[in-house]
């Protein structure tokens, strides 16, 4: 950092805000002094700012609901410690490993293969094409498509969707609405519509060709040839980025951004409808049916709950909060309260308990058994009836019949947790 600071002062490259011109000067310096690490170091410092900015934005937006750790995110894309040398371990024929040291220069960077480029900032710089966008935008795009960060966020329940996929997924109606309400920039609505139409027509063949040549499903970005083939031809991707940004603003308040719905908040179907719909209204027949239902649930439920708990048990030693979450669930606490007591987010609880999936699986197994009984056989010809039956059984599992009672699913959890 100090070295970079000295160069910036020495070459009078000081400015309040980053500009395209300044970026170009840093880039030119790095290229011109291809065997000197210092100019490239300045560029590496410069690129770390938009990367950090992007991470902070992600964190700020999602930390309330998702368990994100800035250090973990930074480990994926902000891994440049400012070294002036790169080290390459080389294994010799006799098995010994020797570490080669090379100056972290523009020339070295050009000699590296795609797989060898580390830190991430160096990858951003190596592929940077000033004709196509500004360095900040370029860095943002690269972060958005970074495989390590994507994998990290996926493990936390979030998907990083590239602008290119977002544009391809969007209908003309969405693009029109997005641009009218949130678009910013030089493009007129008609131009936006034409450009987007042309983008979508060209995207799928280009993606297919990319997949054939790289054997990868991710990582496609528009190259100059692609941009030139658009209508109207584009010299850079700024126009497309502006449209994508408008879509992102437009969708920020939509259901797409709201995220998970906890299983326990599912709509309530009265479990008594299972029985009251039957033709016989005698109390005796109704009791028999209740018994059939209870037996079917008893046969399908406890074993499935036990399996779910057993599958998680191996992780309790490392993370005792998982066991606590199951215990609190068994006691009747809601997901929000469990999350608070376990010092986790609600999404973590939902992912751990999978209450909706578990109750659905038990209800389906019980329903399969019940529809073989004459009393329920009409369900076999009635799609709505099949839906109602499973919903009612699920409801019976997840809600207590009387106030103060505990739901069946939680009772079985209590039983399964007993040593």
């Amino acid at each position: 950092m100090q070295i970079a600071g000295q160069i910036i002062e020495q070459d009078q490259l000081i400015a309040d805000e980053p500009t395209a011109e300044l970026d170009s000067r840093f880039l030119a310096m790095s290229r011109d002094q291809a065997d000197t690490p210092e100019p490239l170091l300045c560029l590496r410092c410069r690129v770390s700012h938009p990367i950090a900015e992007k991470l902070k934005k992600l964190l700020h937006k999602h930390r309330e609901q998702y368990e994100l750790d800035l250090r973990d995110m930074a480990a994926c894309v902000l891994d440049d410690s400012g070294e002036l040398f790169l080290r390459f371990p080389t294994r010799h024929a006799d098995g010994t490993v020797q570490t080669l040291r090379k100056g972290f220069t523009w020339r070295t960077l050009q000699e590296l293969s795609e797989q060898e480029i580390r830190p991430f900032g160096a990858e951003v710089i190596r592929n940077f094409d000033p004709e196509r966008s500004m360095l900040s935008t370029w860095a943002h795009n690269k972060v958005q498509s970074n495989a390590d960060l994507k994998a990290y966020l996926r493990s936390r329940g979030l998907l990083l969707i590239s602008d290119w996929a977002l544009l391809a997924d969007s209908t003309p109606t969405r693009v029109r609405n997005a641009w009218t309400r949130c678009g910013r920039g030089s493009l007129q609505l008609e131009q936006v519509e034409t450009l987007h139409y042309s983008y979508v027509s060209n995207y799928w063949p280009a993606k297919q060709a990319y997949r054939s040549s790289t054997k990868k499903n991710s990582g496609w970005t528009p190259d100059r040839q692609f941009l030139a083939a658009l209508n109207p031809a584009q010299s850079n991707d700024e126009g497309l980025k502006e449209i994508a940004q408008a879509i992102r603003y437009y969708l920020a308040g939509s259901s797409l951004s709201r995220g998970f719905v906890a299983g326990e908040e599912a709509s309530v179907v009265d479990s008594s409808t299972l029985v009251s719909n039957e033709p016989s209204d005698s109390e005796h027949a109704s009791e028999d049916l209740h018994q059939l239902i209870a037996q079917a649930l008893e046969r399908s439920g406890p074993s499935r709950v036990q399996s779910a708990i057993n599958a998680d048990r191996s992780r309790w030693e490392k993370d005792p909060s998982r066991e606590l979450a199951w215990q609190l669930f068994a006691q009747g606490l809601g997901q929000r309260d469990i999350a608070e007591r376990c010092n986790h987010k609600q999404g973590w609880v939902s992912k751990l308990l999978k209450e909706k999936q578990l109750s659905e699986s038990i209800a389906q197994a019980a329903a399969v058994e019940l529809v073989r009984q004459p009393a329920f056989e009409s369900v076999r010809q009635d799609p709505d009836g099949a839906d109602r039956m499973v919903e009612a059984l699920r409801n019976h599992l997840t809600y207590p019949e009387r106030e103060g009672d505990i739901a069946l699913l939680r009772k079985w959890t209590q039983k399964a947790l007993k040593p």
Binding site: L160, T171, Q188, A252, S350, Q357, A386
Partner: protein, 342 residues
């Protein structure tokens, strides 16, 4: 694109929020990254298999061959399912309608899948039954090639699919389709291997074909021992005057007979037996009725001459097997091409 003057610029005030990352929907399937998967359908089918496995559901899923072909319907526990796909953030899912115009071959269920190829994640917004789908699309008789629906119009995720195919009889959901047109001759290849897992291709069911227990097939005079018959597909046929009929239409014919297709072998088929037998055991078959079949260069045929049955046998092969039933002056009946892989 030429920049416009500042007056002409779109100057919406920036929103406070922008969609930086998309929350993974509850119940989405997270796949292990693989370069082998291709296209939205490839991802959707991989996710469907994973969802079945996660729920420990052992339901037959086919067809055995050509499953990746987007024009083919998927058969899940004897239900014909159309899998329709889009990108994860799409606001519409396009539904090809070709199969909906084939009366008797139309899908019974529509499964929507939204795919994020970059993150290997698939989300199933839900399912529509044939009847629900038809209610949603106005002017469906307009012979459109495809129609688009909002993903939110599909109901209850992939679990609804598993509910319906486990709880309902296949006959509970009609395959009538959008327009009552005669069934089109299917050019899709059917695999004999599907029969072994209890699945019969829609092209055969539209001919009235059904899988009967192998032991029952053996009882009706299959020349090999009953242990060798791995499955038996029985197609009802008949003569209405001089016209060959199949399925429901055959039941009202005076001259009735059956075509039995019987893969034989110990654990996997090593041959396919084609057998034409009268509806009532001991009857004679109609004079002049013939069966002809070709498998690459191998061609076999037999014609009824005071016969009580006709029988051909074909070995396993990479070549497709085409079977035709003929009767003098009648339109020949071509069966869908069959694959009996070695």
């Amino acid at each position: 694109m030429d920049p416009k003057s500042p007056e002409a610029m779109n100057v919406n005030t920036p929103q406070a929020e922008s969609l930086e990352a998309v929350p993974i929907p509850d119940g989405a399937v997270l796949l292990t990254p693989s370069t082998a998967r291709q296209g939205f359908r490839g991802f959707a089918l991989a996710a469907l298999k994973q969802a079945l496995a996660e729920r420990h559901l052992d339901l037959p899923l086919g067809p055995e061959i050509d499953l990746e072909n987007p024009e083919r319907l998927v058969s899940l526990n004897r239900f014909a399912v159309q899998v329709v796909t889009s990108g994860m953030t799409a606001d519409e899912i396009s539904i090809p309608l070709m199969c909906w115009y084939q009366a008797g071959l139309a899908p019974q269920l529509l499964l929507a899948a939204q795919v994020d190829e970059e993150n290997d994640v698939v989300w199933f917004p839900g399912v529509l039954t044939g009847a629900e789908f038809q209610e949603l699309i106005p002017n469906h008789a307009a012979q459109k090639q495809e129609i688009a629906l909002d993903p939110s119009q599909f109901r209850d995720g992939v679990d609804r699919l598993f509910r319906l195919v486990q709880l309902l009889e296949p006959s509970a959901i009609s395959r009538a389709g959008l327009v009552a047109k005669p069934a089109l001759a299917s050019k899709a290849v059917s695999s004999v291997l599907d029969w072994l897992s209890g699945q019969l291709d829609e092209a055969f069911t539209s001919l009235g074909g059904e899988l009967v227990p192998a032991t029952a097939g053996a009882f009706r005079g299959v020349s090999k021992s009953r242990e060798d018959a791995l499955a038996v597909v029985s197609i009802p046929l008949g003569l209405d005057g001089t016209q060959l009929c199949s399925g429901e239409a055959a039941s009202s014919c005076i001259e009735r007979f059956r075509l039995l297709l019987i893969p034989i072998g110990k654990e996997k088929p090593d041959a396919l037996l084609l057998r034409v037998v009268p509806f009532l055991e001991g009857d004679l078959l109609p004079e002049g009725l013939a069966i002809e079949a070709m498998q690459g260069e191998l061609r076999q045929s037999m014609t009824v001459n005071l016969s009580k049955s006709l029988e051909l046998s074909f070995p396993t092969s990479d070549q497709l097997l085409s079977i035709t039933i003929q009767f003098p002056d009648a339109q020949p009946l071509h069966l869908p091409p069959l694959q009996l892989p070695s």
